[in-house]
Symmetry: C2
Subunit: 223 residues, 2 copies
């Protein structure tokens, strides 16, 4: 039984890799830069898309594939901010995979930046490459200041780490410096950005990294 489980897992990841590769080729062909947006439910992933769209829509056309187990709440939210969006209901799945994206991605050939908002979860999305350029992880102080070291893999492999809702840190008894320290122990290349999206704190630091990342990706795509 162990052997069967291992085989199923392997062929799943092999299958995922094939679709991720095709997604990446499609995005490259059309000059689209994609961000796999990960984080727990309520961490602020959807608001990050909303705020980013508000601030960059004069320069970049933004698209979003929104993964949720059920419902279209996020779809309704982001479309109000001019984002071209598509909802993907994963049903029983606790993460997006490259196959879900494969069905959706063709509609986004005309955007500059595509957010793939993953299902709220800090564990399951880690192993599934979607074909993204970058991985962004959003974490809220309300998840507790031990949340980063409890989920090392997702933070180790992130290209940017956003600590959100810092204005609530005292109220929930969270020491943001512990989160910062833990993030830096796991990852030296990702900026760790303290934010409060609702109060527009840290947004300029996010945008600085975001524009830089988009430029770098476009440069490599064009070679």
């Amino acid at each position: 039984m162990h052997k069967i489980e291992a085989d199923v897992q392997l062929s799943l990841l092999e299958e995922n890799r094939k679709y991720a590769g095709e997604n990446r080729e499609f995005l490259r062909e059309h000059g689209v830069v994609a961000f796999n947006l990960m984080g727990a439910t309520g961490s602020g992933k959807t608001m990050l898309i909303e705020k980013t769209a508000d601030l960059v829509s004069d320069k970049l056309k933004i698209g979003a594939i929104l993964g949720d187990v059920a419902g279209d709440d996020d779809f309704k939210r982001v479309t109000k901010h001019g984002v071209k969006a598509k909802m993907v209901n994963t049903g029983k799945e606790c993460h997006l995979d490259a196959h879900f994206i494969h069905h959706a991605v063709e509609e986004f050939a005309d955007v500059d930046v595509l957010f793939m908002e993953n299902v709220g979860n800090l564990v399951c999305p880690v192993d599934f490459d979607l074909g993204e350029d970058y991985r962004v992880v959003v974490v809220s102080v309300t998840e507790g200041d031990d949340v980063i070291r409890k989920h090392p893999e997702i933070f180790r492999l992130a290209d940017a780490i956003l600590i959100n809702k810092i204005s609530l840190a005292d109220a929930v008894g969270c020491d943001v410096d512990i989160m910062l320290r833990d993030a830096r122990r796991l990852n030296a290349k990702a900026p760790v950005i303290k934010m409060d999206l609702k109060n527009d704190i840290g947004v300029e630091n996010w945008l600085e990294w975001f524009f830089d990342a988009v430029e770098r990706a476009k440069k490599y795509k064009s070679v």
Copy 2:
């Protein structure tokens, strides 16, 4: 028995994570930017250190921890190029781990850039975080044009991918475009740089990414 094996593997990675975190803190404290240099035996890892040292030593002090199963050949090579070096013999281990680095890293507080040259192997080093800022994978056309898709994980997680010895491609019947395509299917954020280190081809593209990466890392370390 399966259970015991799984536990040993987990505690190994847990232990590795602890040392990697400490290495990363030490490097951050001293403003050292670290590159985990991976690739098969003979791919050109050591020559990359030699060439880089020759070209940047007026601006940056370079250090290198050289992982090999046995011997001090690489140590002798890089010290001739003004690199402060330390040999780490891994004995039976097919990869460096954070504990090996932990013993060595304290001697490198005074360098700007530290190369951690991993043991020649495209599989085993993948799971072991050393505390680096970036992962660089060097691959040679002599390894065959299917080598990248045969080793997806190491290329998927790379921050830069160098295809070396391109001048030999015709002689060994290697289609470099296949390697390029496979690399881009796995990874959109890493530059894929065609090189021939011995003939100084592609070195300026490598240096452009290298300096940019060093600057970005220093910026995040100082926050």
